[in-house]
Each structure stands twice: as C-alpha cells, then as structure tokens.
Symmetry: C2
Subunit: 485 residues, 2 copies
Amino acid sequence: RVGVSLWPQSCDIAPDWLWPLPQSFTSSTERYPLNPKAFYFGYGRQSAAQQDCSVLDAAFKRYFSLIFPDYTSGSVSAGQASLNAETVWGALRGLETFSQLVYQDDFGTYFVNKTEIDDFPRFQFRGILLDTSRHYLPVQAILKTLDAMAYSKFNVFHWHIVDDPSFPYQSRTFPDLSSTGAFHPMTHIYTQSDVRRVISHARLWGIRVLPEFDSPGHTQSWGKGQSDLLTPCYRGSTPSGTFGPVNPVLPSTYQFMARLFKEVSSVFPDSYIHLGGDEVDFSCWKSNPDVRAFMQKMGFGGDFTKLEAFYMEKIVNITSALKKTSIVWQDVFDYHERIPKDTVLHIWKGTPASYKEELSRMTKAGMRVLLAAPWYINHIAYGQDWRNYYTVQPLNFSGTEEQKKLVIGGEVCMWGEYVDATNLTPRLWPRASAAAERLWSDEKQTSSVDEAFPRLQDFRCKLVRRGIRAEPLHVGHCKHEYQGV
Amino acid sequence: RVGVSLWPQSCDIAPDWLWPLPQSFTSSTERYPLNPKAFYFGYGRQSAAQQDCSVLDAAFKRYFSLIFPDYTSGSVSAGQASLNAETVWGALRGLETFSQLVYQDDFGTYFVNKTEIDDFPRFQFRGILLDTSRHYLPVQAILKTLDAMAYSKFNVFHWHIVDDPSFPYQSRTFPDLSSTGAFHPMTHIYTQSDVRRVISHARLWGIRVLPEFDSPGHTQSWGKGQSDLLTPCYRGSTPSGTFGPVNPVLPSTYQFMARLFKEVSSVFPDSYIHLGGDEVDFSCWKSNPDVRAFMQKMGFGGDFTKLEAFYMEKIVNITSALKKTSIVWQDVFDYHERIPKDTVLHIWKGTPASYKEELSRMTKAGMRVLLAAPWYINHIAYGQDWRNYYTVQPLNFSGTEEQKKLVIGGEVCMWGEYVDATNLTPRLWPRASAAAERLWSDEKQTSSVDEAFPRLQDFRCKLVRRGIRAEPLHVGHCKHEYQGV
C-alpha cells in the first residue's frame, strides 16, 4: 500500500541531481552497482599527479567515506570511472561531483549511473566571508564550514579575522593586540597553530584562505594593545578620551603596519590579502588638530577622502612590496580612482540597480572586481530567501566583453552581529549553496529557480547526511534526518 | 593591564540577574561560597512533599548538575537556603531561580548572594507550540526543547502533532494513519512509547503536554490511512480525485473521531485537548453534491460557516464526554459564538490592533482566551526581533477586570514550514524567552526592553552553558561558548 503524496518530498532523489550544476553532462539509466569492498580510487597512468600527492591522497580517503557512509556488503561489480583534470584542484571538484552521483537503493546497495560530465567553474573566485570579530568562532566551527564549502565548490575562505569588537588573531610580533583586544586572551583567540590548522585543512579541500586586516576604520579593538595607533578624538581643544580610525599622520603607524603585514604575509601563504578600507568615519579625524594640520600641509583642504586615499595608498604599497595582491572594499575606489591596476575592488554596497552601475564604472576603469552586495547572507527574512541569492546575474551590467572578464567572482558574506557557532551552520547552508551554483554553473542552464528547487532540496539532504546541519527549504523530510539536538 | 571595552560584553554578569524576573526580590552583596562536596537539597521538616516525591527527587539531582557544571573543590560553607512553595510545580520553578543565582568567581568557586525572593507567575498558561507535521522532529529534539522551556519557566508543550503534510502519531486504534500518512512509516513516527517518554520527561520538568488533532481542515495526511474520512472534491458532476476537509455529513466520520479521541484522551493525561478548527477551505465542500444536499436538509442555506460550526460542536461534545476541556483556534468562535462556555479560544490572527479587538470581544462573551498572535516566532527578521515579543501587552485591551482574568496565558508558536531539528534550537532560544518573561513577570517591573537586554544576554549565555544552542542577541561573547559544530 503506497500513498501518493500531495506534498513536496525531499527524498524523491533523481540519480543525476547535482549541485552546483555541471557545465555539461549526459547520463543514462544504465546503472552500475558499486561494491565498497572492491571500490578504490587510483591515479591514472598518464596522470601527472601520482601516489604521495598529499591533496589527492587525502581526498580519496575522504570521499570514500562520503560516498559509502554506511556500507553493507554489495554485489561485485567491474568497470571503472575516469576523471581527468588539468589541476589537482579540478580533480577535487570532480571527486565531489562523483560523490554526488552515487546513490543507494532501498536495500542499501550503492549505484552510479553511466554518466559523462565536462565541467569547469564560471568564476575563479567563489568565496565565503566569516567574521570572527563580532563573535568568536571556535576553530572546529571554521573547519566544519570549510568542509561544507567544498561540497558546494566554494574555493575561497575570506577570513574577516579582526574588527572593532575584538582582535582574536594572536600575532607573533604584537602579542598585546590579542591579549588585550580579544574577548578573552586565552579562550577567544586564534593561535599561530590554529591558523596553520585552518590553512592546511582548507588546502586539502582546495580552498584558499584570504585574510582581512581591515583599516583604517573598524580598528577599535586594535587600539587596546597598540598605543598611539588610533586617532585621539577631541572635544573642542581637549582629547575626549575616545579614539577614532587609525592615525594616518604618524610615521609610527606605517612602521607598525609594515611589521604587522610582513608577519601576516608569511603566515597566510595566499597571494591575495584583503586590506579593508570601508566605512571610515571622518568625524574623529576632523576633531584632531594634528590631523587638521597634516591636511593643510598636504594640501588636502577639507577633503578627508584624500586623507583616506593617502593612507590606503601607503598600505597597498606595503603589501605590494611583500609581493601580495591587494583586495579592498569599494569605498577606496569610490574615493580615489587612482589605485594600482592590479588591486581587486570588492563591491558590497547598494541595491541591484546601484551595484550594477558600480560594476560598469569599475570595470570600465580596467579594475578587477568581486561581487558581494547581493549575497549578504547574514540578512535573514521569512521564507525562501535563497531564491534571491539564486537569481542574481553578476554579469548583467552594461559593459564590453572585456569588462565582463574583469568580474573575477563573488562572495557570500556572513557578518557576525547575530551569528556565532550556535547558529552559523543552519544560517549558512543551504542558502549559500544557491550563490555557489550561480558562481559555478552556466547561467542559461540554471535560469529557473523553480527547477532548481527540488535539486537544492536533495542537495540539502546530502549535506545533512554528511553531518552538516543545513536547514530545510520548505515542508518535507530527508531520508536521513539530523539526529542531534 | 585591563582594557575597557567599548562593546557590549555578554559576560558582565550581575549576581542577581534572573530570567524571567521574579515578582519581588531583594539581594545583597553579602555572598556565601558554596561547596559542591557539602551541598545538598533536602525536604523541609514541614514540607508536605518528602523523599520519594519523584518530581522533586529528580529535580534535585538535575539542578545539582546545572548549578555545579564543573566543580572543583571549594571552601567549606555552612548555612542554608530555604524554598517554600505551595505546590511541587512551584518548587520546581524555585529551583530554577536558585540555580540562576549561583555564580562562579575567576577561581571557579561557586557563590550565592544572600537573596530573598517571593515569586509567582502572572499567567497560568505559558506555552510553546512545536509542529511535528511539516517537519518531523526526533524525540531527542523535543526532550531537549522541554529542558530549555523549563529554564524559561514555560509550562505547556502544545504538540501540534499532525497536519496536512504528515501524520507521525502512531495510533493504536488506527495504525494505518501513520503507516501511510507519515513521511516514513518507521523512521518518521512517534510510537506510543515515544509519546510516553515525552509526557513523562515533561512532567518531571513541570510541563503539561497539550496534544492537538486539528480538524476538519489541515487533515490531508489523515486521508491516506482512513478511507471516506475526507470530502471528495468535485469538478462539475464528477469527483476530481482530490480531497478536501473532513467529510462532515457521514456518520462514519463521527464514529472514527469518537474512537480516535477516546484513544488520544487516554494517551495524553492532560485535562485539555486542542481541537484545531482553523482555516477551513469551503471550496471542496461547496463542490460536493452530498454536502450541498446536507446543507439544504439542515437549513444552512449557503452558509458553510454553519456547517463548520455543526462539525466542531459534534467534536467538542465527543471530547466533553471524555471529560476533557477543549481549546480551539479563534476561527470557531468567529463563525459561531454559541460554543460551550468552558472552551478556551486561541487567538492566532491579526495585527496588534485586531487581536486586541478579539480579546475584547471574546472575553466580553465570557470566554477564556489564550494569546498566540504576537508570538509567531517562526517568522524571522534581521536584527533584534525579540524586542517585539517582549513589548507585547496581553492585557492592554478594552474590558473590565473580570474580562482580563479570562486571559489564561499566551503561547509561542514555532510552525514548521522552515524548521526542523537542524535549526529549531537557535531559532527558538532566546527569542522565546522574551515572551516567557512577559508571561511570568510583572509588566510594570519589566517595561523597559533596553534594561532587559543585558539580563537576557546573560540568560542566553546560561542557556549555552547548559548545552542549549541559543543564538546570540548581538555582538559579544559568552565565557563558555558553544563548542559544537
């Protein structure tokens, strides 16, 4: 006796449901049972990578467990699948795709259907920002997020590691920054070994770690451990006791920054570094007589955007000398269009109408850009807001083909005002996966949000099966529910 | 070297921060160390309850672990605290309050300040609704929610156990209801022993379990396992193959309901039972020739609200005969003001302006009411929406003192469209705690939402310390963060 359900069921699994959608694939109903006892991954004879490639050796082990979470003995099968990739990182993505192709019948036997897939990412930069300053995230929570990121083919972890509320990064050069600037000097910090652990875990999943040390604004917590770094604010002719952004007029500021970024450059091996530069409040600078004198000397008049530009140029030069490419929030360009051409601009402001204008203007100036504005996923709303993240069209702005190529990718931002380890995972997944498909897949093949819905529901159940506490999209169930509490 | 923080810190704990606020208390800075090795709870000589009172014996054990989560040896202390309560349930609430009074200094020693508290609840009914039909919630998730409810002094678990999408209750009398109506007949059901476990766990926490079997609408899943129960819808003169609400014209319907509610009455010992009665869609009834003939015979004309009233009256009579008091959603009264006087009306609709009018109208008719409308906590919004739940004034409607007394309490509703075990806890806590204080504490003493904020932040950290994944209210941290992933 089988009931026909009137309700969307999450467990109507189609064997070729993949997320994000590959660029092209053909599958057939010809299915092959997989015997976990006989199954193995191996390197092809022609493969440049061979045994001892640490990334793939680790990935083989990992994906075996992901593919066969509870294997019982299956029937014996012959045959093989082959995966060709130009890079090790491409091979990782292919393993993820393969793992999603394997399914179980009601008796628990694993199957994979005959399938051919040709795939590549639409954008090279597919990032997620986590904010570990407004709330501290335990290292375990970050590692688990990296796992889930790989399942959606994200490849950049943008670590917004410090900000106004706290400075959890334990610096070798300036240990006072965290011992006085962290929420707690022992329990709410990232030690050097924590950072190494995050970077090496991320590497094995094919994820780059992009650190952000945002200045001159968003630095209140820095001031606790580094005297004379922040600008003293004045009330009339006397210091008020409060502090503003980094003090841009003292040579000691740049000496400090050079030493800090030298350390950061060696701790974080990625070729990119994020310098922030957003939301600088000028009122404190305006109140300070030394800053005003400096403005006059430099001929900036009353235009404090010139002072910020002056400051950012110095910081960009410091990181250039360290052979790093800078990423800055859009404010920096908005203030000062003369900025080194290899700097990447990060768009975070505005409505769809206004960020499209920014995309147009910035790429026209020949700058590379990264789009975050439509994916501020910390903003929540009742219902299926993933649809808004899915329907973003990052290249739908007025510009030439050359301009479009300057959009290097996009980023999902999970700012931390209302998020810590208690709610991070269900708030991030599967909503971020909607953006992941937009950044990976062909837009024409993924234009229907309604067609995507059951596939995303299925993918969400796959995440739950893998131990990721991804929240439901709507009424329904998964064959294997989250059992924790 | 101590930094002065510019940011709200969750760990500035005041020793007399309690949630919800007691009706009256005085505390002093005179503090007493507690030695876990020597600490014990005992029954007073005059106490009517003595050893072997299962509820209090269990509570003593439980609260010992809650109060001393990681005790090291402390200094020896003498003295004692006494707790006088009229009922066992009152003693449970007092234990909760006492447990919130104990704090640790930096060396880990436990202290309690000299404090006198006189306390009682503002409303007798302080409920939380969980919906286990739109998503199945594992028993563990329900039990954990009961624990957290007790921490906020909630005392009713309204179990919206079945609805359109699924029928997870495994009935002894009608096993087909769940074997065909549940999402899965084995893994997504509540067996009789599951239900007993929930009820007995709830009892030990002083929480009543109010079951809801909502009809005649919201019953799609019932139809799978019980033929002829739902109304066949017609397209013109032929059945369309779809079904509407329960069929109110067949005697077999009432025979089925009498048997079902007889079982439910014995399985759920509470004196209240929730009969639903909301959102009945009349279009299917209208399409059905048998229903139309019945309407004519009964003289209802074209007024289908009379048919619903007829049906509900029959169901209320069934449960009255079983010695249960009925609760129904407001729709039933809106349609048909002649309803047994001891029925409780549950207000779920409308804006603050409109539910106040309902409160006025219903209490004027002498009916007891329960307010849920302002606490639909499944609706989420960015930011501190707990403030909206906190500022509700349940008695701020036009009516006499007698009318106000008819408001028996309120209920936080967590409907299940977008909620399952992956996100239930952080979505419920501490947002529901805001409503809990409104239902427990004196409104005059708790009129400032800004004053409540740091105390609620502290309470949220207490929940986290107790293993409840309660989400953060704003930037900050807890001394003991959630470490899971």
